[in-house]
């Protein structure tokens, strides 16, 4: 099994504290499911297998042809996709791509201009936010400043009509779940950003929502804390078995935490798949550009044969590489990830003569820029165990890449 449960100490014990029943998949089963999913991520087999796997699963949220327009401005084109039960689902995209709008429509704060949103199969069109069994973790936490932390967490439970005893034990459980039991009786103003974040999570998780919506919850935290909270969020999702719908513009966050990612851009779904799917097999130039780093080379399409395309690139050669959505276009782009380029060149790969124009040492990696003719290539090289093997600026060098690791994408 991959990196499972070794990251943070929320631990197995804490899972027993919270009794998430009500017909939901219980903690044990959810782990199995995730393990299965993770295997797909590792033993990468392409989109078909994943969708076969997910087809049997229960749909938590169905987005069916949902669009949103503000006056003449079309914020979101009609989009359709499903979010499955017990999934860490991320909507990723640059600001203004419509991801927050979509999240707010699921929560009920905004109404879709067209289309339908279903929650566990039930149409929730027209239901006000307080009648939807979803809870939101807001970007700036939105904790009630006039209430103690416990009152904040109990707020939703009171509105649902929970009895006092049940409410109080639930609040205590939630405080423990997010490691805040020492802060009993405090008010939000007395907390740091990370602590507020935990209380916001506890407050949203306490009423056992069918879906938890997270609106860029980590963006207000500093880097180190953000890293720790990622692991914590992932663990919380596993423990509770609640479907998380996470909105972010940070691709690294998305890759790290998600079971599946929906990449949104220009108000449309650009690609939907596992993190590995999206990184390794971007469906178009937008996705390749937005997720991770890549080199784009202008390519003249010579021949398209099924999943492969033969193109001529400015490095002065013709190569045949896997293609996506090139169609009958004459021009396309060739995308090569910086870490797929070998420095120095390896035998059996396509090699290019060049010169190193810059080298940025980043600890674990060094980022080089190699100039080959008119083309500049970004190359990322893992630093070796000894300090040898560094290249110097100005040094002539030969780099290489395998044609299979490059992708021809519709421009």
């Amino acid at each position: 099994m991959p990196d499972f449960g070794d990251s943070f100490c929320l631990g197995a014990g804490a899972a027993d504290i919270v009794d998430f029943q009500r017909g939901r998949v219980r903690a044990g089963e959810s782990r199995e499911q995730i393990a299965r999913q993770r295997q797909h991520t590792l033993v990468y087999k392409g989109t078909e297998t994943i969708s076969m796997n997910t087809r049997e699963r229960i749909k938590a949220v169905e987005i069916a042809g949902v669009s949103k327009a503000y006056g003449h401005f079309q914020a979101l084109q009609p989009v359709s996709f499903d979010i499955y039960e017990n999934e860490f689902f991320t909507m990723l995209g640059p600001s203004g791509c419509g991801k927050t709008t979509l999240l707010r429509m699921i929560a009920g704060f905004e109404q879709p201009t067209s289309g339908e949103i279903r929650l566990r199969g039930a149409d929730i069109q027209g239901l006000p936010p307080h009648r939807r069994r979803v809870n939101t973790v807001f970007q700036n936490y939105a904790l009630f400043p006039h209430m103690t932390l416990e009152q904040n967490i109990a707020f939703g439970l009171e509105n649902l009509g929970w009895e006092k005893e049940r409410r109080m034990s639930r609040v205590a459980d939630m405080m423990r779940l997010v490691h805040m039991e020492k802060f009993a009786g405090r008010r939000p103003q007395q907390l740091s950003g990370g602590q507020k974040q935990r209380i916001a999570l506890a407050r949203a998780l306490a009423p056992e929502p069918e879906v938890l919506l997270l609106d860029e919850p980590l963006s207000a935290l500093d880097l180190k804390l953000r890293q720790a909270m990622r692991d914590e969020l992932r663990n919380l999702q596993r423990q509770t078995g609640i479907t998380f719908v996470f909105v972010t513009h940070d691709q690294e966050e998305a890759l790290d935490m998600s079971d599946r990612i929906c990449v949104l851009g220009d108000g449309q779904v650009q690609q939907l798949g596992t993190p590995a799917d999206i990184y390794e097999e971007p469906s178009n130039r937008f996705v390749a550009d937005f997720i991770g780093e890549t080199n784009f080379l202008d390519a003249e399409v010579l021949l398209v044969e099924g999943d492969n395309a033969t193109v001529s690139i400015p490095l002065g050669m013709t190569i045949s590489a896997p293609q996506k959505h090139v169609g009958g276009a004459a021009r396309a782009v060739l995308s090569i990830r910086p870490e797929k380029i070998s420095l120095p060149a390896q035998a059996g790969q396509i090699s290019v003569d060049g010169r190193i124009v810059s080298a940025n040492y980043l600890g674990g990696f060094t980022h080089y820029v190699v100039e080959a003719g008119q083309t500049r290539l970004r190359v990322s090289k893992r630093n070796s165990q000894s300090r040898s093997g560094m290249f110097e600026v100005g040094q002539p060098i030969q780099v290489s890449f395998a044609a299979e690791s490059a992708r021809v994408l519709g421009a």
């Binding site: 009920g108 936010p129 807001f138 939105a142 009630f144 949203a204 009423p207």
Partner: protein, 298 residues
């Protein structure tokens, strides 16, 4: 708490102008009023500085020819009426202002500016004119009486020169002072908090009761003070709308310095009024300090 700083001395020399202004406009006049309140009434108005506590005694007792004291509640009734009217005005202003302020805060930016301007507009017109217009509205052949008649309701005659008339006038005069601070506090309210409340299954009413109102409490308190305090000292409304039949402390004081020519009694009532306001504000200030202290101690 910050360390105590000296009020006077070389290090506060730069603040001397402020001290001078305070001295000339606050301490000296109040000192004079206190002095007058302990003086003897002059034969034709004014006062002679012969120390006596008679003016204060006079608030509660009549002095007979032989010097015997007889309890006289007439001034206490005025004090009571003033407090009641001030409280009622504050309560009515509070109840009416919140919906108005909330409505304004929901408008677009341009309309907000326009509506706030409209709220403050009466301040640009002389207070006397504005209060005077109520005489016409409430009077014998006024709009209110005629409207009630036209609706077939019993003739209530003139509302003028009653406590109700004063109350209407007071609410009218001071309601902008309530709307503005409440509006400010609603504007400061983070809309995400309202959304969070809805998100956590709070209905509109729950959200209003448990989130919006508590978070606007500071604005409502500020508004309450801004309305209550000037109501205590109101002169125009009781004079014009109460007609001298139903007095409030404000016009009682005015009367003593004017027609009644009893400056020491007027000064004494002023001091009582000022003291009651100070007590009210001190109690509220102390409770706020204590609350903050409790919170900081956590």
């Amino acid at each position: 708490m910050s360390a105590r700083r000296p009020l006077f001395g070389w290090n506060v020399l730069g603040l001397m102008p402020a001290h001078v202004i305070m001295l000339l406009t606050l301490i000296v006049p109040v000192g004079i009023i206190i002095l007058v309140s302990f003086s003897t009434r002059g034969p034709y108005g004014g006062f002679d500085y012969i120390f006596t506590i008679a003016p204060y005694r006079q608030i509660l007792f009549n002095e007979g020819w032989t010097g015997e004291l007889e309890f006289n509640p007439q001034y206490l009734i005025v004090v009571g009426r003033t407090l009641l009217l001030a409280l009622a005005t504050t309560a009515i202003c509070l109840a009416c202002s919140f919906p108005v302020a909330y409505f304004i805060s929901l408008q677009s930016r341009e309309r907000k500016v326009a509506l706030i301007y409209l709220v403050t507009l009466p301040f640009w017109v002389s207070m006397i004119v504005r209060v005077y217009s109520w005489i016409i509205i409430l009077g014998n052949n006024g709009v209110v009486a005629k409207a009630l008649l036209a609706l077939g309701l019993p003739d209530i005659g003139s509302l003028l020169f009653t406590d109700t008339a004063m109350l209407i006038g007071l609410v009218y005069s001071y309601i902008p002072l309530m709307i503005l601070p409440i509006f400010a506090s609603i504007e400061k309210l983070d809309p995400a908090l309202v959304e969070a409340s809805h998100d956590l299954y709070g209905s509109r009413f729950t959200t209003l009761r448990r989130v919006i109102l508590p978070l606007c409490a500071p604005g409502m308190l500020a508004g309450a003070i801004l309305v209550f305090v000037p109501c205590l000292g109101a002169v125009l409304e009781p004079t014009l709308l109460g007609g001298g039949k139903a007095m409030m402390m404000g016009n009682l004081i005015q009367l003593q310095f004017g027609a009644a020519r009893n400056w020491p009694l007027g000064a004494a009532i002023s001091i009582v009024l000022m003291a009651s306001v100070l007590i009210f504000l001190t109690v509220r200030g102390l409770s706020a300090v204590r609350r903050e202290g409790r919170e900081a101690a956590r």
